[in-house]
């Protein structure tokens, strides 16, 4: 397994956990998205209550060579509020579906956050000095009586305690009839796309009153609806290329140079299905819940209910690799359908790219019982780890977990029927440069890092 030592294996250790300890979880505290910024210095989370919390990594302490900087709260703000669309009689949740960071261009940081209907561009800036010595105002802001002013002075900037302010700079609204599931910033750093169940729109970051529709799969007759868009992402290097995944397990690659409306795909990625294996559940479990390009853009990773698949952009007819996340659930599909878990949308992520050659890549995705899975593409090994407050001491290597599908359960194994399906890890994120991962349980954020020697 990964973590068993030797060679390039990563040994994961618990680093930090954020959030309340109590079991009674308020709905607003349910974490709905996790994202590192481009340098990895900042880590943002969004929750069902429409709030964003940003953590900042401490500067590395030269004397503390055994651990990387800890993440501490940097800023928190209310990004979205609940709304009611009276015209359509539609309740609009404030839940943050996705956060995407812009690359840093100046002292401030920018991110896009979206709920079901509205995308917002937030500016997060620091203020560490303030002007003092005004002639007409006291330091507390009260106006001075002008008749008491006898001399003039020039106000100067003096240091103050760091204040981090978040302000909404752009609000991109009213462009989506259906629920937004994805946003993706283009490699041109000027435009971005937003995708809902049936349409994808292209925006310019500076322009809020106009948006171009680039994909529309809404049938003329809604009775003929057979599939919806589940995720979309721009190619990391080619600014005219993007992909979108569907509820039927397909991925379409589109090129905006081909036409203004990209309803005809340039490539269609679909794994042929064995008709003898088809069941009531086949289509539901084939629905892709996340799609992520690799850093080079040569590969993409997709997550469906039971597996993670790696696709080579040069080969449309099947994935190059398939990794089983929790195959033992295949014989539990009936109950998972009844308790709605079969509709859970798991995300997946690649490891960071800096200094690493593509073929050494690792993939991570979550499961139930607060377990998450890692797959090493190079060695084809996989490991199951748990995000839990028990048995987690800093710098102690995490113990691999094992689920026993049937038959005799070995010591330290957990049986499928004992898994807690309310403890889902849907969101994970990998630091862009280092071996640090952020894993979100229902209402807690765990940070794991590799053991430094």
């Amino acid at each position: 397994f990964l973590g068993a030592g030797g060679g390039n294996d990563i040994q994961w250790c618990f680093s930090q956990v954020k959030g309340a300890v109590d079991d009674d979880v308020a709905e607003a505290d349910i974490i709905s998205t996790v994202e590192f910024n481009h340098s990895g210095e900042l880590l943002a989370t969004g929750d069902k209550g429409g709030r964003v919390v940003i953590f900042q990594q401490e500067q590395e302490n030269k004397t503390q060579s055994h651990s990387r900087g800890e993440y501490n709260v940097y800023s928190t703000f209310q990004s979205h509020e609940p709304e009611f669309d009276y015209l359509k009689s539609l309740e609009i949740e404030e839940k943050i579906n996705k956060i995407r960071w812009l690359p840093q261009k100046n002292a401030a940081q920018f991110l896009l956050s979206t709920n079901d209907k509205t995308i917002k561009l937030w500016k997060i800036s620091e203020r560490d000095k303030r002007p003092e010595g005004y002639n007409l105002k006291e330091e507390d802001g009260r106006y001075r009586d002008p008749t008491t002013v006898t001399t003039l002075r020039v106000p100067v900037f003096r240091p103050m305690d760091l204040m981090v302010e978040a302000s909404p700079r752009r609000i991109f609204a009213n462009a989506h009839t259906y629920h937004i599931n994805s946003i993706s910033i283009n490699s041109d750093y000027e435009t971005y796309l937003s995708a809902d169940d049936l349409r994808i729109n292209l925006w310019h970051l500076e322009i809020t009153d106009r948006s171009f529709n680039i994909v529309d799969i809404k049938p003329a007759n809604m009775e003929e609806l057979t599939e919806v868009i589940t995720a979309a992402e721009f190619h990391p290097n080619s600014c005219s290329t993007f992909v979108y995944s569907s509820s039927k397990g397909t991925i379409r690659l589109c090129d905006m140079r081909a036409s203004a409306l990209c309803d005809r795909h340039s490539k269609l990625f679909e794994e042929p299905e064995d008709p003898s294996n088809r069941s009531f559940f086949s289509e539901i479990i084939s629905s892709i819940s996340d799609v992520k390009f690799s850093h080079s853009g040569r590969y993409m990773m997709t997550r469906d209910y039971l597996s993670v698949k790696i696709w080579d952009l040069n080969m449309e007819n099947r994935p190059v690799e398939t990794y089983q996340v929790h195959e033992y659930l295949r014989s539990k599909l009936c109950s998972l359908y009844e308790n709605d878990c079969i509709f859970d949308k798991f995300e997946c992520c690649w490891n960071g790219s800096d200094r690493q050659v593509e073929f050494l890549s690792l993939c991570t995705s979550g499961s139930y019982n607060n377990f998450f899975r890692m797959f090493d593409r190079n060695t084809k090994r996989d490991i199951t780890l748990e995000a839990s407050r028990e048995n987690n001491k800093p710098r102690t290597v995490l113990k691999p977990r094992k689920v026993c599908a049937s038959g005799k359960r070995k010591k330290d194994e957990i049986s499928v029927d004992s898994l807690d399906f309310n403890k889902k890890i849907l969101h994970t994120a990998w630091h862009p440069k280092e071996n640090i991962i952020a894993v979100a349980t229902t209402n807690n954020l765990y940070i794991f890092q590799d053991k430094m020697n």
């Binding site: 309740e91 039927k248 009531f280 398939t322 295949r330």
Partner: protein, 118 residues
């Protein structure tokens, strides 16, 4: 571990000859066995599970129905009587039921700071 295309745990068990009662299930893929279980519980389940009904439900998430005209007329008529209240499923506000302010979900915004920042 990388698995062959389109297969599940089932493939490891074919060809084994066992005496126990699970033997007949081994010839049915686990997915089909689960499907049979579901159909036994819900015989009226539609033929196209991934089709329109299921997707339409997904598209209509968040739809609530409130007719202020109905509500005010009902309030006026039943000044002294109790308004019919919601059944157990408060989310389905349609038909004869006249929604009352108590039934509609609270739309208060969250003024509390996230516990992650605590």
């Amino acid at each position: 571990m990388a698995a062959p295309l389109g297969t599940g745990a089932f493939t490891e068990e074919t060809g084994q000859e066992k005496q126990d009662t699970q033997e007949k299930d081994k010839s049915i893929p686990p997915e089909r066995a689960e499907e049979a279980k579901l159909k036994a519980k819900y015989p009226n389940l539609g033929q196209k599970p991934g089709g329109s009904d299921f997707l339409m439900k997904r598209l209509q998430k968040g739809q609530k129905y409130f007719d202020s005209g109905d509500y005010n007329m009902a309030k006026a008529k039943m000044k002294n009587k109790q308004l019919p209240s919601a059944g157990p499923d408060k989310n389905l506000v349609t038909g004869d039921h006249i929604p009352t302010p108590q039934d509609l979900p609270q739309r208060k915004s969250s003024l509390v700071t996230s516990k992650l920042a605590g």
